[in-house]
Symmetry: C2
Subunit: 333 residues, 2 copies
Amino acid sequence: MRAQLIALDWGTTSLRAYKLAEGGKVLEQRSLSSGIMQLPKVPRIIAGRECTDGFELAFDEACSDWLDAQPGLPVIACGMVGSAQGWREAAYRDTPANVATLGTSLQTVRSIRGIDVHIVPGVIQRSRLPNVMRGEETQVLGVLQNLPGEAGEAGGDLLIGLPGSHSKWVEVADGCIVHFDTFMTGEIFAVLSEHSILGRTQQRSATFDGDAFDRGVQVALSADGEIGPLSTLFSARSLGLTGELSATAQADYLSGLLIGHELSALACAQRRRRNSVHLPSIILIGNAQLCARYSRALDACGFARVTLAEQATEHGLWQLALAAGLITLTLSR
Amino acid sequence: MRAQLIALDWGTTSLRAYKLAEGGKVLEQRSLSSGIMQLPKVPRIIAGRECTDGFELAFDEACSDWLDAQPGLPVIACGMVGSAQGWREAAYRDTPANVATLGTSLQTVRSIRGIDVHIVPGVIQRSRLPNVMRGEETQVLGVLQNLPGEAGEAGGDLLIGLPGSHSKWVEVADGCIVHFDTFMTGEIFAVLSEHSILGRTQQRSATFDGDAFDRGVQVALSADGEIGPLSTLFSARSLGLTGELSATAQADYLSGLLIGHELSALACAQRRRRNSVHLPSIILIGNAQLCARYSRALDACGFARVTLAEQATEHGLWQLALAAGLITLTLSR
């Protein structure tokens, strides 16, 4: 099957490359560690010239063989590659942002082998505490495209969750991102585990300790949790001191505690925004293991309907390439 | 003036040594970086023997000349030196813990030069999320001893705050520590500034940016702050991205945001515990610059009466040495 598009999901710490065929079907995919904050540094010859530019080197590593085989393949990319620290800045679009039309605002950078890389803009919400996303807007589009018509349109009763270093919770209406919140839960878990006193007594285990995780979630949701994460976090240490939490359980307990506080705060914020006790349906996008943790915790928080979306990035990039005319509907049929 | 006691405040990252005379008067004091997690490693001769033990080395550095001059001086120490990772474990006393009588529960370790070091036990609160302190119990005693009679007894309308890496908020009644909460605010600020994406855009400034700090506090106390610190923290980055927060203002903004969330949670917890909108008077103990930050933020949170206590550690250790009979009242008169 002949490829029609190269789609790149190019974030801070990783670069995922997809070779897509008709209808967005994935022919091949690769995952490299060449995120924009850890680009390759070893110079190499590209298009007959010695090249030292990290973006060019990463792009070449990711898909030069695909382009050698099919030189005319269009290339589209989303994520931090479009940030001020990226390859070419693609200015944010303001909320409410119609995700289907982001394809008409692509920013282009020409690689030294003469290939135009089309970069998807991020989305900004200019609230008192501003919020920004890059990459998630494409995943949201990928999800909306796959929803049954009514659900995609209604939106009002739907919240799209994108867990990660900085998790995003996105409200959509009429195909637009109308509001979103960011929680730094994943990064905070990582820095606390690696650099704080909580990490010193953690003993990492290869298997997920569901009981320890659920216990952390329950603490966050309990009356004891009302004092907030800055205080409850200390229990990951003090329960260890009293022999009530083993070293191997501490990491998953901390993970549950943090995710529990995130979702408890999210539930409150959603009820305030909707002025209703009713909580929206959730669609989760992201790493399968992390989504499994969030599913457990969402359930404990009273979010009744949680579903997982797959291949959201590839589907979103395919749709944006179509909207931008990089591929034509005729070809894709 | 002749010394009567060597008093050590021996924590995780520092060792403060005081040479005290009659009435607890400070004759000399020293601050070393030989906390129990960063003990000296270079062997030296102590009492005629080569010594490699980090606690012995640190103790020798801190006060061997004082002991050479007055070999019979008693030594008392509080802090993490009494933890399981310390020189000798001094088992926790349970809440309610009468701080004045902690002197009857000192744990002793004999140094290789034959000096007994008397170690103050910490305090544990065996609540569902346990809380522990080591060193703060001694500071609380030092503060209580200096209060006018009624205030020291009443206690019920008083909260003693000990800001630091792990800040403690201590309720006392009848000379006992009856309840306390821990917030990891200081350590979280440090690890986020050093190891997270928030630190990347921070430009450290030698001067305190009071406006940026107050702004952080106000965000934590505002309706936007209700979503909690895991989310509002991201504004230290996003306000930078939109040009609304300069690089030099970001560290103090983050500090204000975290301290604001701590105190907002503390105020709620206090109102729940007291079943009253009334907030207690505050006495702060600790680093002067940090206490100044907390004073500003406490004021913004509606804590009306805030006072600072000085020399709480020295006073507390002196009182405990008296209670333990290490020095006699006759001598101290």
